[in-house]
Amino acid sequence: MGYLDDTENIKKLKRVFFTCLVILFLIDFIVPKHHYFSLERIPGFYAIYGFVACVSLVFMAKILRKFIKRGEDYYDY
């Protein structure tokens, strides 16, 4: 029986993770930052960018897969 077989443990881990997210988002307003681009002034820019980047990455990869996916033995004779 592994640790993650218990759904309670998974819930616990998720709770810790979501707390971290909230803290990180809020701490953005306190920490002093040196800005290089105006885009960075948006509160939580990095958080939004990270989320949007990864979601779009996966959806674009799924589209890409439609074009380039072949059978596993495609190159074998």
Binding site: G2, Y3, L4, K14, F17, C20, L21, L24, F25, I27, D28, V31, P32, K33, H34, Y36, F37, G44, F45, Y46, A47, I48, Y49, G50, F51, A53, C54, V55, L57, V58, F59, M60, A61, K62, L64, R65, F67, I68, K69, R70, G71, E72, D73, Y74, Y75, D76
Partner: protein, 640 residues
């Protein structure tokens, strides 16, 4: 004080003793040699030594400065750890190839002239090919051959470039070159093939995942990083590298997301990581070059660690595919922890190596106000976390339980991985250790609150994206597949080209051959017998006309009278004609080949200007005279 020898020499000369040793002595020797190399390296002092005259030039085998030393340090360390990781390998030839590969990489790093650099460059390509071939299956054989062909092409470009460079500048010295003409461009192409810069990257993702367990670890370390070294020395500030590097960071992550083989996922992430270094070299400021070099240093550690982990999983389970793995955390907790250190490092979590080196490159891009490049690098940073930081550990150790319950890998693997993981954390916490050996003085502070918070935000919310996608079933399922890449052009299209050569082109060639042969034969025959030929034609035409006339006049009547007799006659004629035809065809087929050969032999033996050619021309001459006489005769007849 003992004088130091070139670091390459220890590995390359030492390699040839390996096949003669056996058992514990071999193990001891394999581990001792890299230790000697490390001690020797620490003893090196800056400057050039081991200079040999060759023709009119100097071959410099030991040019020591800060740039070469950074790579020297990490190469000998990984030479030791890589050997330790693969110490269980039985084949002496495998160890020989490893030492030659490590030695020649060190040779490239410490050579001060282009000629010895080229020699080491080629040894590197050949030695590393054997690390692929030692996997000993059909795929490895093919992948190794393609790998070798691509690198020999790169080597040839490099050699041609070096020769032209020598011709134009008169110098073989290996220092800043910069793109300014064909010679430097050829050298540049030779270099960027090894750096796996697109569209010349497919050899990496094709060959590395097909290599041996140990081989992949070592391959991921040396070839691309020596390329980064030579680019940093010869082409810093080359602007095209910024664009190429940014493309390198972005496009592989799409492939990595949909790739099933974990080692191929890492191969794509390796291209992505080298992209950061290439961008750093392209920007060319002190900060960015430091970033590129330090990122190469750190990447060797964490990418090596991740390849070691996937290699260890392959070693104990026999597979490295996501579809066949999952749930291994139950029985392989140590490997999991080490893998997580590698994953955190490659994702550039604060307190791990990637953070202290990658942020230098991103900072340099921001300093240069390169907005698009900066966005691309951030996108790639989030993407790296996604595919290398989460996907690799998730699909191997968690995800759906595969039912596999393998033991931890052998102690030597764990020990080697442990030391690399320790170095990853050490440099992450005390970046000063790394910063003091960089080529330029460092005034970059990675651990500012702003940096740490923005990086953590980027990563945690990328993680949230993964959680969101996998919970709601948007994440692409792991599927057994081959994803097409640039190598399609020489793996499939190449086959098409061969088909074209063997079928339509060869057939066309045969037609031309036959037409020419028949034409020539007929022409020669005509030239020798012009009058009979013309006569024959006329006879033929006359006979045909006459026959037609007779048939026309006779047939309508006689067909009624002698229908039966005529039909019998016709059938007999047709059968006998058919038999004759078959007989002729058989004879032709039998004689055709022999005749053709004899004809060619005759042509070859006679050769120009004697023999047949002379005969032909004299015959032609006679034919021409006869024609002229005929014309004169006609003219006279007309006028009189």
């Amino acid at each position: 004080m003992i004088t130091s020898v070139p670091p390459a020499a220890i590995f390359i000369i030492g390699a040839f003793l390996v096949p003669f040793l056996k058992g514990k002595l071999k193990t001891a020797y394999l581990l001792l040699l890299p230790v000697i190399a490390i001690l020797n390296l620490l003893n090196l002092s800056e400057g050039t030594s081991w200079v040999f005259g060759f023709l009119d030039y100097n071959l410099i085998f030991c040019r020591v400065d800060k740039l070469s030393m950074v790579f020297g340090y990490i190469f000998v360390i990984m030479g030791f750890l890589g050997t330790l990781y693969g110490i269980h390998v039985k084949e002496g030839g495998h160890h020989l190839a490893v030492f030659l590969y490590v030695g020649s990489s060190l040779g490239v790093v410490f050579s001060g002239d282009l000629f010895s650099l080229f020699i080491f460059w080629e040894i590197m390509a050949f030695a590393s090919t054997f690390l692929i071939w030692y996997k000993k299956d059909k795929r490895a054989l093919g992948a190794g051959l393609r790998y070798l062909l691509v690198h020999t092409f790169g080597g040839t470009c490099l050699l041609a470039g070096i020769m032209m460079y020598l011709h134009t500048t008169g110098s073989l010295e290996f220092s800043f070159i910069g793109i300014n003409g064909t010679a430097s461009l050829l050298i540049f192409i030779g270099f960027i093939i090894n750096a796996a810069i697109p569209p010349l990257h497919a050899w990496l993702t094709d060959a590395y995942p097909e290599s041996t367990v140990t081989g992949t670890v070592l391959l991921s370390i040396f070839t691309t990083k020596t390329a980064v070294y030579v680019l940093a020395r010869a082409f810093p500030g080359t602007e095209i590298l910024i664009l190429l590097g940014a493309i390198m960071t972005v496009f592989p992550i799409f492939y990595a997301v949909i790739e099933n083989d974990t080692r191929r996922v890492l191969a794509y992430s390796l291209i992505n990581q080298v992209g950061f270094m290439v961008v750093g070299i392209g920007i060319g400021t002190e900060l960015s070059l430091n970033g590129a070099v330090s990122h190469a240093f750190c990447n060797i550690l964490f990418e090596g660690l991740l390849f070691m982990c996937t290699g260890a999983v392959l070693y104990v389970t026999g597979t490295s595919k996501c579809t066949e793995l999952g749930g291994l955390y139950r029985t392989m907790p140590i490997t999991l922890m080490l893998c997580l250190v590698g994953a955190a490092s490659i994702s550039a979590f604060p307190l791990f190596t990637g953070f202290v080196s990658k942020s230098m490159v991103i900072q340099a891009a921001a300093d240069g106000h390169m907005f698009i490049i900066w966005l691309a690098l951030l996108f790639a940073s989030a993407g790296v976390f996604h595919h290398a930081g989460i996907k690799i550990p998730y699909f191997i150790f968690f995800a759906e339980d595969s039912g596999k319950r393998p033991d931890e890998p052998p102690l030597n693997m764990l020990l080697s991985m442990g030391i690399v993981a320790f170095l990853c954390i050490l440099i992450g916490i005390f970046p000063g250790v790394l910063y003091q050996i960089l080529p330029y003085p460092v005034d970059f502070v990675p651990y500012t609150p702003g940096h740490v918070v923005s990086q953590l935000q980027l990563l945690f919310f990328a993680g949230l994206a993964f959680l969101f996608l996998i919970t709601y079933g948007f994440y692409p399922k792991e599927e057994r597949s081959t994803n097409l890449d640039i190598d399609w052009f020489y793996r499939k299209a190449g086959r098409g080209f061969m088909w074209f050569c063997n079928h339509p082109a060869a057939k066309f060639n045969m037609w031309i051959d036959q037409a020419f042969l028949g034409g020539t034969r007929g022409f020669i025959w005509f030239c020798r017998n012009p009058i009979p030929t013309l006569g024959l034609w006329m006879d033929t035409a006359f006979v045909m006309f006459y026959n037609g006339f007779i048939w026309f006049s006779e047939n309508p009547v006689s067909i009624l009278v002698s229908g039966f007799y005529g039909g019998l006659h016709l059938a007999f004629a047709m059968v006998s004609k058919g038999l004759l035809r078959i007989y002729i065809e058989i004879g032709k087929a039998r004689d055709g080949a022999e005749k053709k050969r004899a004809f060619y032999r005759e042509l070859i033996e006679s050769g120009p200007p004697g023999g047949d050619v002379e005969n032909i021309s004299s015959d032609l001459f006679i034919a021409f005279i006869i024609f002229a006489v005929f014309l004169v005769y006609m003219a006279i007849k007309y006028f009189l």
